[in-house]
């Protein structure tokens, strides 16, 4: 992932009760997590919450949710499943702690935008390095919460594996 990149795609939005506290059991149920086959993870992603997700979600789109996205377990299979299903970026009002780290570590961009009114289907332009989200459909620019530099660097390398391959250790 080139962190200078700008990602332009449409928004797949969960709002209201459906959009808050989406837990890792809903993202990928525990019974499916014991596999290294990521296409299998992708085929069950979100199925208890949104059985239509894997048919309706257009790969490359941006997933948009409310508060506390990814709460619950530490399973990295949750962001991996979303990434494998073609999610290019996740925007939430805020994320659960472990999910946030995991997503960055596997090179899936996640942005916290505390206040937004992004509508389903809106065309968004995400600038990772600047941390901005432009809602082209609504003509609004949102500023994401600033990430620690180490996270920006990890994301810039495409995840923690390539980061450590390059640096061998954490560089603060």
């Amino acid at each position: 992932m080139d962190s200078h990149a700008c990602i332009r795609a449409s928004a797949y939005v969960y709002e209201g009760a459906l959009g808050d506290n989406i837990d890792t059991d809903r993202i990928i149920p525990g019974k499916y997590t014991k596999t290294l086959d990521i296409s299998l993870l992708a085929s069950h992603v979100m199925e208890d919450l949104d059985p239509e997700f894997r048919y309706r979600f257009i790969p490359g789109s941006i997933l948009v949710a409310g508060d506390n996205f990814g709460c619950g377990s530490s399973r990295e299979q949750a962001p991996i499943a979303l990434k494998a299903a073609g999610v290019s970026v996740i925007i939430a009002r805020y994320f659960a702690r472990i999910f946030f780290r995991n997503a960055i570590n596997i090179g899936l961009p996640v942005l916290e935008v505390p206040h937004h009114a992004i509508a389903h289907g809106a065309i968004l332009e995400v600038h990772l390095r600047e941390g901005t989200v432009t809602d082209i459909s609504a003509g609004v620019v949102y500023k994401a919460t600033r990430m620690p530099k180490v996270m920006v660097d990890i994301l810039a390398e495409g995840g923690l594996v390539p980061y450590l391959q390059k640096y061998g250790d954490y560089v603060l």
Partner: protein
Amino acid sequence: MGQTISEKILSAHAGYPVYQGEIAVVHVDGIMATDTTAPYAITAFREIVGKSGRKVWNPSRCALVIDHAAPAPTEKISNLHVMMREFAREQGCPLYDVGSGICHQIMVEEAFVRPGDVFVGADSHTCTYGGLGAFATGVGSTDLAAVMLTGKIWLKVPQTIRIEYTGTLPKGVTAKDLVLFTVGQLSISGATYQAIEYCGSALETLSLSSRMTIANMSAEMGAKTGIVHPTGLTLEFGLRYDWTPVLPDEDAEYVRRYSFDVSALQPQVAVPHSPDNVKDIREVEGTKITYAFIGSCVNARLEDLQQAAHILRGRHIHPNVRLLITPASKNVMLAAVQDGTMQTLLEAGATMTNAACGACVGAHLGIPGDGEVVISTANRNFKGRMGNPNAQIYLSSAAVVAASALTGAITHPAEFL
């Protein structure tokens, strides 16, 4: 400037004083991964290392535990277990195989983690060791792979919420009720990115097992870690080592403070589908159940089994109910055999499984059917948590589960005490 427990422990492991909000790289004392997280961690570790020949930084401090789907219910999962065994042998890491028990119980029982340590586990309930006064936090697989290699982790020093409990817990009301009540008050996101310190006179006489129960559910409030003040802490599980309590400074800075008097607390029940949907038992009494589960890292230690046995002694569970008991570890199981608890439970109609995560995570060992209502001692009741999105899961103490297994409906344990 005064420091919280987290700031003190992290300072000692960073090598210089650190305070909330700062990003720091700290040395860790131990790490752990399970059969859900280790396969991805091993894969990431191998990718990072490549052909460089680098090894796990300190194999004796890196434990692997096969507990989430143990024994393996499918050949695919069995192959993942094989992968873990091979990695452990190759690197010289201790591996706790099928039947040993739940990772968190084992880490404490085996003195893998001690008071004042920094411990990183690839499981969200790693915070359980806060019951021992350690700074313990859950991470994902790739983060763990990085710690395997470096023996260090970067983190943001958290702000701390201080929760004080006064009074004395009434009879039949347990540490689980206290923490369920707390989750209900703070909500599932109430401590996101923050640490919790649990303190106060009501906690000072609690066993290590009960302290672990409380610290465990810090995860259900989104906390990075949850530490019970080690005041009054006595080691359990046959543990014997010297330790020094780490307590906060008088002038430590807290982001929020709560104070609860627990003297009138009633048993608490979390209703579907979120652990913070917490109600007083009086509001849900009489809800029919068909499946009762005593297990998981929050409540399957000897004291929980004893609590259940106390209620079930000389009685038999309701004909419409199956009671499944999955002890937290082999040692817990042995202790329950030795003191007669096991016999009491079996005679009352319970089914005993091997020590593991079991039904808690819905991989096998007791998946509920459609429309079934479960009363469980576990820590999560998210939709689909036990393997079936069409089941309803209620969370409570072992005492409430045992009483409910007797009547076939959610029941206040006082009736049987």
